[in-house]
């Protein structure tokens, strides 16, 4: 497990640094954003984005953090990292021919696969949680206060959303030998989902509805997770990991 964690260390750290840098920049920009929000709203071309701006106007800095950190930063960057980690998990080994030596050790395939999944999951979630934990301190720099437990609740939901993306890609990787094809398919899927999200009449069909500003504001204001959605995301991960284990057990190196 330690070697699996070490293998993803640099990418995990880079992900955290970029996520934190985006958050710092966004937080420091908040006073100016708040001052010019009315003017900015008139420039927004899409209804969905205008709704988002309305929520920020209504709820203030917390909605701004949800938009900048969770919806933009974590969804885009975290989603990318989740796909990169997962697409290479097994398919990457097969492509470079190292699957045989990976499997040839006296360790069960279940253990090998779960270790790899857990290491990736760790590096996907920890940067989200740690960067979210810095929000109250960053807020104090711009005279804003945040409730840390509520923010962490949002971060937990964000992690489950990213883990669902990670696990779907992981399942594809367990069955395939072409990581790039998996990556491109997931990228196209993400672009398609985002396009759906941006069209007001179709936005409810998009997976990004499960991790958007409205939902995070609901968690932050209500103090509890939207259990139906959260459990569904967790169930997607569990089902995908179980399916990956089944596929991997029969896999020929």
């Amino acid at each position: 497990m330690r070697s699996e964690l070490r293998a993803k260390l640099w990418m995990g750290l880079a992900y955290f640094v970029v996520l934190e840098a985006l958050l710092v920049a966004a937080m420091l920009y908040w006073p100016q954003f708040a001052k010019n929000l009315e003017h900015l709203k008139s420039l927004i071309p899409l209804d969905v984005l205008r709704d988002m701006a309305d929520k920020i106007e209504e709820s203030g800095a917390s909605a701004y953090v949800h938009a900048q950190h969770f919806f933009k930063g974590c969804n885009a960057l975290g989603g990318l990292v989740a796909v990169i980690f997962a697409m290479n998990a097994v398919a990457g080994e097969a492509q470079r021919g190292t699957l045989e030596i990976w499997l040839a050790r006296p360790l069960s395939r279940r253990r090998l696969l779960l270790e790899r999944w857990c290491a990736g999951a760790f590096w996907i979630c920890v940067p989200v949680l740690v960067s979210t934990a810095t929000v109250p301190w960053l807020g104090s720099l711009v005279d804003e206060t945040f409730d840390l437990p509520l923010l962490l609740l949002c971060a937990v939901h964000q992690c489950l959303f990213l883990l669902a993306i990670y696990s779907i890609t992981f399942l594809a990787s367990a069955a395939s030998s072409n990581p790039l094809a998996i990556g491109f398919t997931m990228l196209l899927g993400a672009i398609g989902e985002l396009s759906l999200y941006m069209i007001e009449r179709l936005t409810h069909w998009s997976a990004f509805r499960f991790a958007d500003v409205g939902l995070y504001q609901q968690i932050y204001d209500g103090g509890s997770l939207p259990w139906r959605i959260t459990l569904s995301l967790a169930a997607v991960s569990v089902v995908c990991v179980l399916a990956a284990l089944r596929v991997f057990a029969r896999r020929t190196p």
Partner: protein, 308 residues
């Protein structure tokens, strides 16, 4: 592995079938090995050698048949077998970013510290620069690294897919010396090889595979004896098979146009040669070859297998 499990190094496989899509890689192969001894798997490319070794090590599931190593059956993901054996793959693909030392640690995870120390010592004995990244290794060095790892665990069965492929003659000699040491220690070794010197030097038993089927399974002595009893005769025109088969001392006959490969019943060809010379229904032979044949010649003549 349970410490009380008897580990004699006895491997039994029966009825192994494996298909990849429409291609049948193995078509019902039986094999028994050990305790002790070196078994060489021979056959042309695509004959099923690597698939058989992977199945015996629990890396590939057979479509039919069973494998048992010291009483532990091949089931599930083959963990019970992998715990009781070690393996060196035929295809070389390593993690180039790791140093030789770290790579050995990776390969030997789950084998204990003692195995790692032994592998490091073997690799140094072979002159591998373990502090260097593996991406800078030559093909032969990578092969030796894999072999160092495969010879390290304290197990009674080692499965080696072309262990000396890509090595220069000096290194091959060193590797064979290591294998001889293992053999002397009573380890059961299964290896596939295209290298005849290697087979001749260390194998006790030879198993010939062709198109996924076992053509023969004989001791090295028996194969060499058959080689000594083989006579190749070339005629100007195809001889009558019936006449040739009726000559005294002929045990087996394979006719290919005007060429005949004849396996005699004994080491002494004189009676046969005299009868051949005096048989009026046959044209005078153009060439007669007799004596110990090379292994590829033997395979071609006895089994019709063209190349190793």
């Amino acid at each position: 592995m349970n410490a009380s499990t008897p580990t004699t190094g006895t491997l039994r496989a029966s009825g192994l079938v494996r298909r990849f899509g429409t291609k049948t890689a193995l078509a019902g192969v039986d094999l028994e090995a050990g305790p002790g001894g070196v078994i060489g798997l021979l056959g042309p490319n695509g004959s099923g050698k690597s698939t058989l070794l992977r199945i015996l090590y629990g890396l590939v599931r057979p479509d039919a048949g069973s494998v048992e190593l010291d009483g532990a059956p091949l089931e599930g993901d083959g963990l019970a077998i992998r715990q009781r054996a070690s393996y060196a793959p035929g295809e070389i693909a390593l993690y180039g970013e790791l140093t030789g030392e770290k790579h050995l640690a990776f390969l030997l995870r789950g084998r204990g510290r003692e195995a790692l120390e032994k592998a490091n010592s073997t690799a140094r004995e072979l002159g591998l620069p373990l502090e260097r990244r593996v991406r800078g290794y030559s093909h032969g060095m990578k092969r030796q690294l894999l072999l160092s790892a495969a010879l390290a665990p304290s197990v009674r069965v080692r499965i080696l897919d072309e262990p000396s492929e890509g090595l220069d003659p000096a290194k091959r000699g060193e590797v064979l010396a290591l294998l001889e040491r293992e053999k002397a220690a009573g380890t059961t070794i299964l290896l596939s090889s295209h290298h005849l010197g290697e087979i001749d030097r260390i194998c006790d038993r030879l198993v010939f595979l062709h198109q996924g089927k076992k053509l023969a399974d004989e001791t090295r002595e028996r194969v060499l004896e058959r080689a000594r009893r083989l006579v190749r005769v070339s005629f100007d025109a195809a001889p009558e098979e019936r006449v040739l088969a009726g000559l005294p001392g002929v045990a087996r006959l394979r006719l290919e146009g005007a060429r005949a490969a004849i396996e005699l019943e004994s080491d002494d060809p004189r009676e046969f040669l005299a009868a051949l010379a005096s048989e009026r229904r046959l044209s005078a032979p153009r060439a007669i070859e007799y004596g110990a044949l090379s292994l590829p010649d033997l395979l071609r003549e006895l089994y019709g297998v063209e190349a190793l």
